[in-house]
């Protein structure tokens, strides 16, 4: 059992999407969707609380692994993230929560990245740059069927801060 209260929200991104809550939930949890908007990553998730969660790169390598903390379709999907692609930094897991709420003729999707340690802003810059690109593209996929061309790259300040952690 994972104690979600240990994690403090550090980055929150809200977007409104012209789609049903079910369609947004599917877009977050099905690999055919995530490949289109999540930097080519395919989600692989056991559809139950406590199940395994992974984001796989196109070459099959594990980019992120974790555990489903809450599986409540179509309202909430939360999982821990272990940055499997960067084991050398030994970063503590973070918690990513998607909240889906009906909001009139559309839905409000709130994405929250929460951390259990005093993480420097420089390391948070990765998510702060990435989430708007990923979630803008998710919205376009659901509303137009077409993802955006977005560039997902790790900010230089994040890489420098990660290097500093190892010293």
């Amino acid at each position: 059992m994972i104690d979600a209260a240990r994690f403090k929200p550090k980055t929150v991104y809200v977007t409104y999407i012209a789609a049903t809550p079910e369609a947004v939930f599917d877009a977050l949890t099905q690999p055919d969707f995530t490949r289109q908007y999540f930097g080519g990553l395919a989600v692989e998730v056991e559809r139950r609380t406590g199940g395994a969660f992974r984001l796989l790169a196109p070459d099959g390598s594990v980019h992120v692994s974790g555990t489903v903390v809450e599986w409540s379709p179509p309202r909430r999907f939360a999982c821990t993230w272990t940055m499997a692609s960067m084991p050398q930094y030994e970063l503590p897991d973070c918690l990513v929560t998607y909240d889906i709420a009906p909001a009139g003729g559309c839905v409000r999707l709130t994405t929250t990245e929460a951390h259990q340690w005093d993480i420097p802003d420089a390391i948070l810059s990765g998510g702060r740059a990435g989430w708007p690109a990923i979630l803008s593209s998710l919205k376009s996929v659901l509303e137009t069927g077409k993802p955006l061309a977005v560039k997902l790259e790790q900010p230089a300040e994040m890489l420098a801060a990660l290097q500093a952690l190892r010293r």
Binding site: V14, T15, Y16, I17, A18, A103, G104, G105, C106, R108, P132, A133, S136, S137, K139, S140, E143, T144, K146, L148, A149, V150, K151
Partner: protein, 159 residues
């Protein structure tokens, strides 16, 4: 920058050119289709006025345009004219439009609030709804109908 003075930053990527995004941000015929009925005219030069007329036909904003560099950067003051608004000094909105592969990365920064500002909480709820609707409007031709927009329309009629 003081840590106590709140700053709101929101980034969205839009499948439209910076020129199109600029038009939507500055021309009232476009804004009323996505900004929940508000007619926002920010087409003037620096030193001229940005005005916003609410769906009930009342003037909601009459603020200075601080910088206008189409289609890259737009800065204007922000002081809602509604009588039920908390009395606070004007804040500042900056729109930065950056092209990327025929699309636009739009960054909205709303700052110059005093510590403990109540208006800050309102704009923090408002911008994600407005900018999500702007993106939908430019990509699909239709703005969003959201409960935030409904509440805002209702308020506009009453305030």
């Amino acid at each position: 920058m003081s840590a106590n003075k709140p700053t709101f930053v929101y980034v969205t990527y839009i499948a439209a050119s910076p020129e199109r995004v600029w038009e939507a941000l500055t021309q009232s015929e476009m804004s009323e289709k996505y900004w929940f009925g508000y007619r926002v005219d920010a087409s003037g030069k620096a030193g001229e006025r940005m005005t916003a007329v609410n769906p009930a036909g009342r003037l909601a904003h009459d603020d200075p345009i601080i910088e206008s560099d189409p289609p890259r950067k737009l800065v204007y003051g922000w002081k809602p004219l509604y009588r039920d608004m908390p009395e606070e000094r004007p804040s500042r909105v900056t729109f930065l439009l950056e092209p990327f592969k025929g699309q636009t990365r739009l960054t909205v920064t709303h700052d110059e609030f005093d510590e403990g500002s109540k208006i800050f909480g309102m704009i923090s709820n408002g911008w994600p709804a407005v900018l999500s609707s702007l993106k939908s409007f430019l990509e699909t031709g239709r703005g969003l109908e959201s409960s935030w927009g409904e509440a805002e329309r209702k308020r506009a009629g009453e305030a």
